[in-house]
């Protein structure tokens, strides 16, 4: 049996990946939920073949690739990632990854890749198919939504990277159920005392409704204009630029989520909530009378080597949570 290591911070992603493996492939599977765990397993010889995620807490996929090379382990690593920027592919290839598979990986794609790399031989394996007992996975709702968001934000980042011509550093998305006051605090944190502009776009589909909120820091707007090849203009030119950027990021992110959950969203027009606001209160008036809790997915995109960051918040209404849960449940079965 071939020692196979599956490393991803999301339980759902590991579950999806292990299910997509050729059933007759004779492997003994070890799982790791971040890079450090992966390194421990690799040092114990449990990772002759490694399926590796990139965006992870503690130690990410790039660091694992570098560490494996430094310690001289002979493992064969395939990256399976939602970060599909061309530059990400280039970097992992440079660090010695054999291939790059886009999340969520399909059984056909995995089989084809494993056969092409000579890691799995369909003819030889068919003779003695060992039944693989499926590990008992308990995938939580937050974990699943985080992974769905992770794949969606990766697609948005790939488009953004192309538009701006830079590499985007992707964080692990945060998923939280916020009370109105907590959301307010989270936003005030993002504010960091700087002047802000914000774009907001509503969406609704199959009883799942919410708003996407994108926050820009004013001090970074000139940098963004420069990257887009625009000359810094007045407020009107700037607001159009912010709306265009927001449409790319929010549009790609929502499309990624809609595709995975098999929904079609109606989207309202994006709205510029305000420019140069000194505080969140000046920008956003939460209608506290109408809602108590919101399910928030927070994604913070950072542009490499530049002090530019976009904060994207997907705020789902409390009433959307049961439907969203059902959709995600369906995805996990």
């Amino acid at each position: 049996m071939l020692p196979l290591l599956v490393c991803d911070d999301s339980t759902m992603a590991r579950k999806q990946l292990i299910r997509a493996l050729p059933p007759e492939w004779p492997v003994s599977i070890t799982q790791a939920s971040h890079g450090e765990e992966a390194m421990t397993a690799i040092r114990q010889g449990l990772g002759q073949v490694v399926l590796l995620d990139l965006t992870m807490p503690v130690m990410d996929g790039y660091q694992v690739l570098a560490q494996v090379r430094e310690e001289g382990h002979a493992c064969r690593i395939l990256v399976v990632s939602g970060d599909i920027q061309d530059e990400a592919r280039r970097r992992v290839a440079e660090l010695g990854a054999l291939d790059f598979i886009r999340k969520p990986a399909t059984p056909e794609e995995l089989r084809e890749t494993l056969e092409r790399l000579g890691l799995f031989d369909h003819q030889a394996a068919a003779e003695a198919p060992p039944p693989r007992t499926e590990a008992d996975f308990k995938v939580g709702f937050r974990d699943a939504l985080r992974e769905v968001s992770n794949v969606a934000m990766g697609r948005a980042a790939a488009l953004l990277a192309e538009e701006l011509g830079v590499f985007i550093q992707l964080p692990v998305p945060a998923v939280n159920l916020f009370e109105a006051s907590e959301l307010h605090m989270a936003l005030a944190d993002a504010n960091r005392g700087e002047r802000l502009s914000a774009v907001c776009q509503g969406f609704v589909g199959e009883a799942i409704a919410g708003e996407a909120l994108l926050l820009f820091h004013d001090s970074e707007v000139a940098d963004i204009a420069h990257l887009l090849g625009l000359r810094p203009g007045g407020d009107e030119a700037t607001s159009e630029m912010l709306l265009d950027l927001a449409s790319i990021i929010i549009g790609a992110c929502l499309a990624g989520i809609a595709e995975q959950l098999d929904i079609r969203f109606s989207q309202g027009h994006p709205q510029l909530l305000g420019q140069h606001a000194r505080s969140i209160d000046e920008l956003i008036h939460f209608n506290g009378a109408r809602w108590r809790k919101t399910l928030a997915v927070e994604i913070s995109y950072a542009l490499e080597d530049r002090a530019v960051r976009f904060d994207l918040l997907l705020l789902f209404t409390e009433a959307s949570v049961p439907r969203l849960t059902a959709k995600i449940q369906y995805l996990m079965e």
Partner: protein, 147 residues
């Protein structure tokens, strides 16, 4: 001929996609208020799929509609073949939908403008009408804030 037909089919697909994607509610019903067309906007904002409303009466599905008022408006459209309108200032909405901004918006519902358009079969009397529902919430909020 075949090429021409293909282009027409393609355009038809586009038109269907456009009607589906429009950020305007589109519904077609017969003179008995039985629904025949229900686009994505209507599905997403009402929470009812096209298959759930097909052939059913608008008044059964939405008993809150002012029946006398709508019957009179639609009756005129069917009889005269002219369009009819309703503005949010006079009547805030036809169907009570949530707004697009449930978290940061201030309105409690979607303000709507309504257009009722006659649909005639070739050379025949008008048997169907199309209702178009426009989201006027932003304009309404701005005006109500000022006033």
């Amino acid at each position: 001929m075949a090429g021409q037909a293909q282009i027409d089919m393609r355009e038809l697909h586009w038109l269907l996609d456009i009607v589906q994607c429009l950020d305007v509610g589109v519904l077609v019903m017969d003179r008995n208020f039985r629904i025949e067309v229900w686009n994505s906007f209507m599905e997403n904002h009402s929470g009812l799929g096209a298959d759930q409303v097909q052939g059913r009466s608008l008044f059964e599905l939405f008993p809150e509609i002012d029946r006398v008022w709508l019957e009179r408006k639609v009756g005129t459209v069917l009889r005269l073949g002219t369009r009819a309108f309703s503005l949010w200032q006079q009547r805030p909405y036809l169907l009570r939908f949530e707004t697009y901004r449930p978290i940061t918006g201030q309105a409690d519902f979607m303000y709507q403008n309504l257009t009722i358009m006659p649909l005639a079969a070739a050379g025949r009397e008008v048997e169907h009408v199309c209702l178009m529902i426009y989201d006027a919430t932003e304009a309404a909020e701005a005006q109500l804030r000022e006033g």
